[in-house]
């Protein structure tokens, strides 16, 4: 309407997608192999970190957020922060009960 977005025209090539796919498979293999090692308490943290990394690739490239208007990034930040805050606040109960 008021503002047209040039990013809209951005087409991600086949190659990029295949590359990202390879990275994702690589990360999957990594997380599976790491889970075999006994990391004790940080095992969960490592697994979640890798999952977050994979998500970042999916969101930015597959869902092409990287190339979208800023407003989408703001929206996503709001949604994720809300979710995170809810987790933290609930944890205050379940951790300390």
């Amino acid at each position: 309407m008021t503002n047209e977005h040039s990013e809209k025209e951005h087409i991600i090539g086949y190659g990029t997608y295949v590359l990202i796919w390879l990275v994702l498979i690589g990360l999957t293999v990594t997380t599976v192999s790491i889970s075999g090692i006994n990391l004790g308490n940080i095992a969960l943290a490592v697994a979640l970190l890798i999952a977050a990394l994979k998500s970042a690739f999916v969101i930015n490239i597959f869902m092409h957020i990287k190339f979208e208007d800023k407003i989408f990034k703001v929206f996503i930040a709001v949604a994720l922060m809300t979710l995170l805050s809810v987790f933290v606040l609930t944890a205050f109960d379940v951790f300390f009960r």
């Binding site: 008021t2 809300t82 809810v86 606040l89 609930t90 205050f92 109960d93």
Partner: protein, 541 residues
Amino acid sequence: MSENIESKPYISYLQAESKHKGIFKWILSTDHKRIGIMYMMGMMAFLLVGISLGFMMKLEMLTPGKTIMDAQTYNAFFTLHGVIMIFLFIIPGLPAVFGNFMLPLQIGARDVAFPRLNLLSWWLYVIGGLFAIVSLFLQGGPIDTGWTFYVPYSIRTGTNVSLPLFAAFILGFSSILTGLNFVTTVHRLRAPGMTFFKMPLFVWAIYSTAWIQVIATPVVGITIILVIVERAFSLGIFDPALGGDPLLFQHLFWIYSHPAVYIMILPAMGAVSEIIPTFSKRTIFGYKAIAFSSLAIAFIGYFVWAHHMFTTGISEVSRFIFSLLTFLVAIPSGVKVFNWVATLYKGSITPGPPLLFVMMFIFLFSIGGLTGLILGSLATDVHVHDTYFVVAHFHYVMFGGTVMIFFAALHYWLPKMFGRMYNEKVAKWSIALIFVGFNMLYFTMFILGYEGMPRRYWDYLPQFQTLQIISTVGSWILISGILLMIGNLNRGIKRGAKAVANPWGGKTLEWTIPSPPPVHNFDVIPVITHGPYNYGEEEEK
């Protein structure tokens, strides 16, 4: 300028023809105005049902022991009353009716962003309502859990729980679709020149609310589904006998249901911010403060839910944090009230019915808010928790707050919506009856609760009877007031005098087009150059 609007012939949205016939012209219409009206019909019907249930409950409380119904019936009644009032009346509330009707008009658009999705929302609302009604007549009897559906009782009781829960899920879905529609509409369809800070405050309120609808409702959705699944398959998630933790149900439930309180009240506050400048002929005081306070309330309101759980055994740390956060919400709410009062100050006030409702709102809502402080403080809450004090409090906030503004908005926008006026004198009489009846009915409940009368009981100790009688008589006065009001509005819609385009002298865009609005709202999309409440004084920078 409104003169020439009047004279031009046009087809109003009420007369418009479409490819459908008869009633289908309405129930298959994607026109936001028609959808708003259809929501209004549905909600008024459910309001009347809810009120009838309230009436019967109060009748039961006239004498100790059995008066007209037995205990189980009373359980079903307060549950249904709560479910209907919450899920079918006040949560769709102002957004569904006035958001749908006025939002596109106020931002200078021809419709919402997704008109067909909008129609789907309405259909889901109707289907949800039907499911809720059907569940009453099935084997097992009507649900008796209270509108909060707390586990473990809701997974054990033999009454029909799954179907009304599913109904609530569908209603939630309807609410979500409305929310995402409005967010997109505000971002995409504002008229040229209408920046965010030139939007009417009602739009700001609807926008903030829409975000809560999108972000909070799914949480209760999954909670409800889990209860249904628990009843069917015993996953154990909410069942203490299988290791589950009922408190987590309460967390999830209130993660939605507290923000839902703001789904109810924010749009009402938005409507107040429209009515006050119009009836005092002044630019709203502190436009930006009010706009941001809507966002702030929506935001902080998301993080205070556990104040409903102070007495349930949640951790000390979280009780402290949630009590603190709860008090924080008072700040943006206070900002609004002060700005409203400052707007009225030295304005040239016309006490039309909408403004009278607003005055009543400020009075009742303040009482509701102040007693909320008592409930929000750890020490005092322990004493009055689960008593009539709470019942009085939430009726003051929800009924005295949101519903009064719903009525105010009806009186404010009815001429625009139907092109006709109601009788203002009768409207004022109904307001007087509502005010007197309301306070008799609910103020006594504060005292009852303070003296120890627990909520959700069909019976009581003889010493409470005097107060109960006053309260019951109050319910009769209140209900007569509401019926008088509805009758008056209904008569106005059918036979009232023709309304002009701008009967109150409002400055927002909906008043620049004829009443009732043409099918396409605007012949030419307006170009916005100044703020929404331009009464000729210095404009706020």
